[in-house]
Assembly symmetry: C2
Homo-oligomer: 620 residues x 2
Amino acid sequence: MGVSGCGKSTIGKLLAQKLNIPFFDGDDFHPETNIKKMCSGKPLNDDDRQGWLETLNNLAKEQLTTNSCIIVCSALKEKYRTILNEGIQNNSEWVFLEGSFKQILDRINKRENHFMSSNLLKSQFKILEEPKNAIKIDVNLTPNAIVKMIKKELTVKSQFGLFGLGVMGKSLSRNLANKDFKISLFNRHVEKVEVDVAKNFKEQYSELSNAAAFDDIAAFVNSLQTPRKIMLMVNAGKTIDYVIEDLLPHLSENDILIDGGNSNYKKTKERNVYLKTKGIHFIGTGVSGGEEGALKGPSIMPSGDKEAYKQVQPYLEKISAKDKNDLPCCTYIGPEGSGQFIKMVHNGIEYVEMQLLAEVATILKAIGQNPDEISTTLESWKDTASSYLLEITTAIFKKKEGNDWLVNKILDKAGNKGTGNWTTIASAEFGVPSTLIASALFSRYVSFYKEERILLSKSFVTHSNSELNITTNDVLEAYQFARIINHYQGFKLIIEASNKSAWNLNISEIARIWTNGCIIRSTLMEDLVDVFKETTNILTDVELIEKVNQFKPSAKKVISQCVLNDLTTPALSEAIQFLNGITTEYASANVIQAQRDYFGSHTYQRLDDPSGKSHHTNWN
Amino acid sequence: MGVSGCGKSTIGKLLAQKLNIPFFDGDDFHPETNIKKMCSGKPLNDDDRQGWLETLNNLAKEQLTTNSCIIVCSALKEKYRTILNEGIQNNSEWVFLEGSFKQILDRINKRENHFMSSNLLKSQFKILEEPKNAIKIDVNLTPNAIVKMIKKELTVKSQFGLFGLGVMGKSLSRNLANKDFKISLFNRHVEKVEVDVAKNFKEQYSELSNAAAFDDIAAFVNSLQTPRKIMLMVNAGKTIDYVIEDLLPHLSENDILIDGGNSNYKKTKERNVYLKTKGIHFIGTGVSGGEEGALKGPSIMPSGDKEAYKQVQPYLEKISAKDKNDLPCCTYIGPEGSGQFIKMVHNGIEYVEMQLLAEVATILKAIGQNPDEISTTLESWKDTASSYLLEITTAIFKKKEGNDWLVNKILDKAGNKGTGNWTTIASAEFGVPSTLIASALFSRYVSFYKEERILLSKSFVTHSNSELNITTNDVLEAYQFARIINHYQGFKLIIEASNKSAWNLNISEIARIWTNGCIIRSTLMEDLVDVFKETTNILTDVELIEKVNQFKPSAKKVISQCVLNDLTTPALSEAIQFLNGITTEYASANVIQAQRDYFGSHTYQRLDDPSGKSHHTNWN
């Protein structure tokens, strides 16, 4: 912007060329009536300008849907700029070419065939309201110097901020930088423990040469373009709340905070409500893929305010994994903490997939395989039961340290960071029987009682002398069987939560963004994308019914043998129990109801009374 | 109390005789110096009185430890009464014998050998501060009339209030009345739904003839002796908070509210803190026994402020069940919501005991027994595995309706009121693997998906043709096996919660108060009372180890057969899995740790590094 003759067109063209984006001269969009008026030496009034400014605003909006552009326009009054900026305040940047009346008049006098008279220039200076939030450049400089300065000013602010440089924060930062986003990095300073973390990290990786590194919150926030987009990658729990409080004084209205940690979905909902009162948008986002996924393309599950999400969408989609159709493994999940809810369930499913592989290894070991042989067996399952977790487990059992396998040297106490715990709690709260997730969680808990296990192992008779009469193919089928049940249960929890919370989640889309980037990606998950287009209950899908029926005999054989041989396989075992339960027309719960009525007068319903009326019996 | 010559001694002696409690004349406890002073016509000063009043206060305290008593004393000033009342404010009642100077002087003049002069009487009237909270009686009445009036005033107020007359509230009320407590009953008035509930209830049972019935809160509260003792028997959840708010304006400092419902232990803790700010004591109390237990003697688990508990102890102990040594099945559990916590776990154990019996019935049915035969089988287990739940289940299977067994007509959707749910959540939160409780809870949840079960039952192959090759004795041993695991898990949750919450619970005492009155009373529970005197881990008890080892082969046989025959027995099955897990020296959790380190750099510990250091491997 600037008065006519300030050099807008020259500078604008040159800048557009350097930035490789389209250039538009506002004057080219004047309607003919305006041009005639100006040629006749009469200044345009505001009514003349209204339609023209709207045209330019629409032009800018249209260009922003794909990329960006340079538009030049005198835009002398604040109210003109308001029209030009309408709806794109957060995506536009003003550059004001500044000069004195004499300087500009000299420039105009050198021109030929221009429709501007010097009288009009006087009127322009008269109405000029200098902008407050523009990059201001002196027109006395050479065009090249001017363009260089603008470019520097335009790019000095970062597009995206990453707060917290743990394993996941670091990987996501590099991912963003690799996608040519200009980012700011922040990590707190803790004397002697966390010193210059961001700075050292930036120096470590060449792709971060353009990133800005901070350990001061105010400087970090100020380095970001508004509305700011800050992704929090800190420990879930109270830390998030402390970080939010630390950031708040530095943020501006409409800034966007993205929580990419494994926060509890209930807390995300609360934070959403709280930050809305402060004018800040909050996007709770599940991110799965571990260290490597975060770097090369994770699965991303954002939720919260949909309008705010649109502003971070380009970033998240760009860094996410791509599915087999090259679509981003990132989609807007739903309101409140729904993104963090499905990430939690994702982790629950993951717990089970990991547990099943641990149990498979237990069985393969019991039938005499050493880790190399276990690895070979798992490798051979790739064609029928391919998954990321199968793949890494295959690699794990191959890994040697000296003459021994590394896996044999690892302490058998499994850690957990709370999401399996929360999924089990959510199951209990939503009334959904996620038995395998509970089983996997409790297996980790049992593993934690190492000292007690050692003590008790001495007192109890285990490992009978009967032999395991099963093949690796039996084990494979039992494993496939349990995986189907696991996915049925996990998605059932999501579906029930969606219904009860009115989230209206798209289950097929959720399965789709889990086909790549995340820890539970698998060919089974790919199959489920289509299954969920037809039904929310995968046990009504003809092909899956066939598979379950095909695999069940092996599962029964494997589990009965494991029970007889004192092998610990709770998740595989529970998979059978659950299928039996959910396919039993008349369950044993009638006995429970009779007992409850007997001792507590809790009443019961009757098979022969479809009204659902409560009945009570004096059983004595 | 009253001035000398008002007739205190005469009335006091007569009243003590009528109430059958000891009588003491305060004057008999004056030291000799005081007596000499009074005889010489000098009035006592406050220093003279101090030691004497303390002596009387100690006398009262001592008497109250066993029963009650009548003490007479002039107690003319408020500050004298404060000394006399110190520490027993809630257990004393003042009676003031009132008369004019002339009336009293006449009485004194009729006496012989009294050491009081009429001059002293004048000084007594001068210093008399009339009490505000005393029963006032005119000395002009005959002694018999006076005693009758006092007795009426003393007994017209109720000792204990029962708020909420549902199934449990009604039974507890009758229990209290049967123990000769004077009680007040309250039930809200809800137009057309709950009308005159308390009044009608009182009229229904002769033992309630002495009870007072209300549907007005103020009148109910005013009918109680202070400090008031009000037991709330309303629905758990928000209702309790509403009821507390309704009661608060009518209560006085040091009144005691007892929540006898299945409230969440976390809420009980919050309410405790909140009510403390209002000067009200709150006792969270588990009550188990169902309708019949509440009437004849439940198991009671009070927690909260121990000093406040002492005031309700006589009532709760009296109405509770008695153990085999005739001790009350009621004991102070611990601080905060510990009583409601153990009641919650009690219900979790109960869920499992019920589920195991339902599974047992499933198996007995599958081996061809009809309900009568199942009942006979269960009856025959009484000698080896006696429990209340076994007993009622035996009765349930015998119950006929026309030509068919009633149990066969009950809809197989099991209800739940939240405690199994909370126990599972507490397990997840405390890191304790209560797998059987989760299994029993989720079995109820599965039962709830009745329509889905019917639908899916048509698509899946079930009930193979192989035959169940097990005896009823195998089933009995599998059942006994699972019950030991259930009790191990339930108590483990209590022990861990006690440790982590610093409740310092007495586990053996908890087992003891569960040996009678409650739903999970059994001979196994009786055995555990002694086991817990020696150890907190029942799987280290020699006799129980022997039993587990004895029963396990049958459990393995039963479960492997059930799996092969598509029978749904998740809790029995999980009992084996759990024992295998907790007795495995080297578990498969090493695989989980390797996986977590592979994809998330979560690190692992090593068997050969007892320092517990974190190790990380680049697995690729």
